[in-house]
Symmetry: D2
Subunit: 303 residues, 4 copies
């Protein structure tokens, strides 16, 4: 059973791959074990960072199975079921429940653009049929719409909707949601961008789903604790480090894929897993890899 | 074998459904037979109008099988394989080839946002492995990016890429593509929005993939011929009718789904098929249905 | 008095400048006289192409005065009064009337984003007080909103609103406006992008406000006449030339300013006027200038 | 002389008006005196909240003169000079200096869309000629572009550029700027949205330019101090009140103008000044006014 509200650092795991249809199982083991050792509360598989939409369903199901097996109950497993097809979301959810995952996460369907009333109806129908608690996932840069604050408030009345992961980077939005949810302390409010995690927790968020926790889980866990404890001395030390990671490792190359490519290249340089990427993306070539390596050295990390 | 360039009216078929996972086979038969009788050159199944992204893969494959069976070679069948997952696109393409379809259509992967060089690589990798010719599908309102004119030009060199369907409604874009492709007369240039079809054909396009041809296939075929023959008397009669259809039947309700809902409600009122819609959409209720009915009466159509 | 509907080619004149606050009067004379000699119906000064928003009011008023003096009634003068401040729009309109201009053109106020009802009220209040007929100017890329088709229809009832210039490049939009205005043949419908001018005129538009007519006015006048006469042999010759101009001269450099910079550099190379640009833009440097020169040579033009 | 970095609450003043061209001077006196009494550090006139772009230049200059006179040196006066015309910005700046203002604020030119290098050049040219220190103003919703973090860093080297006001609501952006400016403690970082002010100050911002401080200046000053002192008990009391103001007073009606209309209506209900608005906006009518009144009663404020 998931703690209510669910708290802490929940890394959105990258998906280590050997080729377009094959999971790098050994890499996934190293990745998840590092996270567990780093003190995270859970792991979110098949999210945006996990390239979920680019993976075949066979591979997505393999990710669920292997992740649940490796984690083995040591931390919570949240499974992304974001899909344009309601039926495919349900199918992924069924596997997740069978394999022992703890919760599900779904961004709005992202090809067509539903209106907010359509979105409410969609999430209610989905939550009605899901075997596990659902986290809403606000991700407007990828799905074209916001889950508006009043929509979150309405959906929070559903007994099977447990929280929100907000990756909008919009501080006003997150404040509005926190305000509207002030009488529902069990509803978990998680923030995506690691750059904003400390302040979000200081102001009432319950944790972070931060990509950098793939790389250095203990750093984000420490920052989370510093924020919970309002330890501004620690925050003042950790925030620049988090920013340095973000601004040196996630910004190589010109496209939106820089962030995931940066994570995978770094993990590969750290010896954790393969840096193969699913179509339409491709691993960094030598030049970009060298920039990442230099970024790591500047961070004082041996590679 | 597909004519080169492929020409004429190719309706993007709606997908008649009985429930979220069940095809309305009898409705699909009536729909496709009406199209064939109306003189269309082909049918495009599993496009945006077909709610493809909202359907399970099982249902998508059933649509391919049934459509190919019903059409039985009388017209060409183009199958939408647009997907965020390369592997799932290939899987749909395999079914399409097995069932005897004539060509494939794919918009860019639409969750992550690739850059143009990534997009070129993606389409080349895809076309390399496809068993049938591919049409590029420019659909920026849904996939967030344009397939830029120079990208189309580059991709047109691939022997397995046969044409472009442009649904951007951007007249400058389409003119640029026509200009860049002026030395490749076999590359098929098709326009999505029916409101622009006549002028596109007048200026060099090869046909239209027009939603209204679900409803009144012969009207769009007649307009296509009028444009090919530069018969401005006919165009002057037909264009206002096409506009009246567009502005009265596709604009009921407030959301982006108005267009598909309008098509399905109209087809239901015409006795062709069910108006059920896949999640996250839902059929029009009585009030909206009444507006559509009135729109049809204003068009002089008995329902 | 302006012909109703106003027809033909109306170049959106660039503003020749010597420095940020000084008009290149001799250059403006050469520019406008070329246009008159080229057979245009009017000239649109202080539009987007004229860098109007970047000019001081003193300079804008000088442009109005000098253009009206130079034109001297040989063609119509349309004056852009687009402004975020209602009072400043009125002030520019007053000067335009005093100097003998024929009509005014205004895009929506462009800092704040009005809703359509606010926009209707705004244009009605403005037209009530204007001393000359007003053309609406649809320019969503710069002002963030469309003047929606039904808004155009509503505003066309105002006795002082004479037409629409549409620079959206959206073919569906323009078809919708033409359809809604079908019972108002005196309302002038003009298209901005020269790439779409021929087809727009073929389908019912009254003319084009085309930037390229700064460079080669007779080419666009000839295309306009070919479209009016449905002379597809001429269109087939002229359209590729218009596209070559657009794709070689307006696309140098990476920013939105490429188009105006291209026009000004070309005019400078042709010996017409200075290529100085108002802040925040700056004239092309040698490398870009060389690309433009080569583009002109490819077009068979001696420079 | 402006403190370095400039700190505290600086309300972006609304502009009280009697009609489209006449300042409500008595209202402005009451408004500014309330602010001074409330403990603010400065006032920002002619910003977005001040409807600057909608005012004539004559009226803008009157606002500068009257505001400087009323304030009389009791607090700092920052003057918005945002304009599409470089020359008009300089002209406003000249008046501001003559009247004794302390600093200037400018968002990017907002009709054309400059690239970042063009923007750097623009701000450098501007700052070179300004008689007072300049604050950059990041306002992408209105001007269509961000002043990117590295652009801020580059511009901060200019001796006449003193700070940044960020109204993007993008928490990642603001964190990036704070990180890049960590070695320049004299560069003032101010946040626009009041909903984010506390957390921004907790994480290193120097103050807030918060619209609500027109209404209740002491509330925002108290929150600023609580954040500076990391007094989470006070923050926990004040943040919900700030959110209640934002969510009940700024969200009446459907358009982007709701926020300024809400501020003006509230100030009118509080007896401070006229609620007249410049074109294209118009004061709320009875129904919306009643909702605002009820919102104030819910806040425990007698009106």
């Amino acid at each position: 059973m998931l703690e209510k509200p669910f708290r802490g650092i929940i890394p959105p795991a990258i998906t280590p791959m050997i080729d377009n249809d094959t999971l790098d199982v050994a890499g996934l083991e190293r990745l998840l074990n590092r996270m567990v050792d780093g003190g995270v509360s859970g792991v979110f598989i098949l999210g945006t960072t996990g390239e979920a939409q680019n993976l075949s369903y066979t591979l997505r199901k393999e990710v669920i199975r292997q992740a649940c097996r490796i984690v083995g109950g040591r931390i919570s497993v949240l499974v992304g079921i974001t899909d344009t097809s309601f039926s495919e979301s349900l199918s992924l959810a069924g596997i997740a429940a069978d394999e022992g995952a703890d919760a599900l996460v779904s961004a709005p369907p992202y090809y067509y653009t539903p209106g907010q009333p359509e979105l409410i109806q969609y999430y209610e129908h989905l939550a009605n049929q899901l075997p596990l608690p659902l986290f809403l996932y606000n991700m407007p840069s990828h799905v074209k719409i916001m889950i508006e604050p009043h929509t979150v408030r309405t959906l929070s009345d559903h007994p099977n909707i447990a929280g929100l992961k907000d990756s909008s980077a919009n501080g006003v939005y997150f404040r509005q949601v926190i305000y509207l949810m002030r009488d529902k302390p069990a509803f978990s409010l998680l923030v995506g961008p690691e750059e904003m995690m400390a302040e979000a927790v200081l102001m009432g968020a319950h944790g972070g789903v931060n990509g950098g926790a793939n790389l250095f889980p203990e750093l984000y866990v420490e920052m989370y604790r510093a924020a919970v404890e309002k330890d501004f001395e620690r925050i003042a030390v950790l925030q620049p480090r988090i920013m340095q990671i973000s601004m040196s490792l996630y910004t190589v190359g010109r496209y939106a894929s820089s962030y995931i490519k940066g994570l995978k290249t770094t993990l590969n340089l750290l010896g954790v897993c393969s840096d193969f990427m699913a179509e339409p993306f491709h691993r960094f070539e030598r030049a970009e890899r060298e920039i990442i390596r230099k970024g790591l050295i500047d961070l004082g990390i041996e590679v």
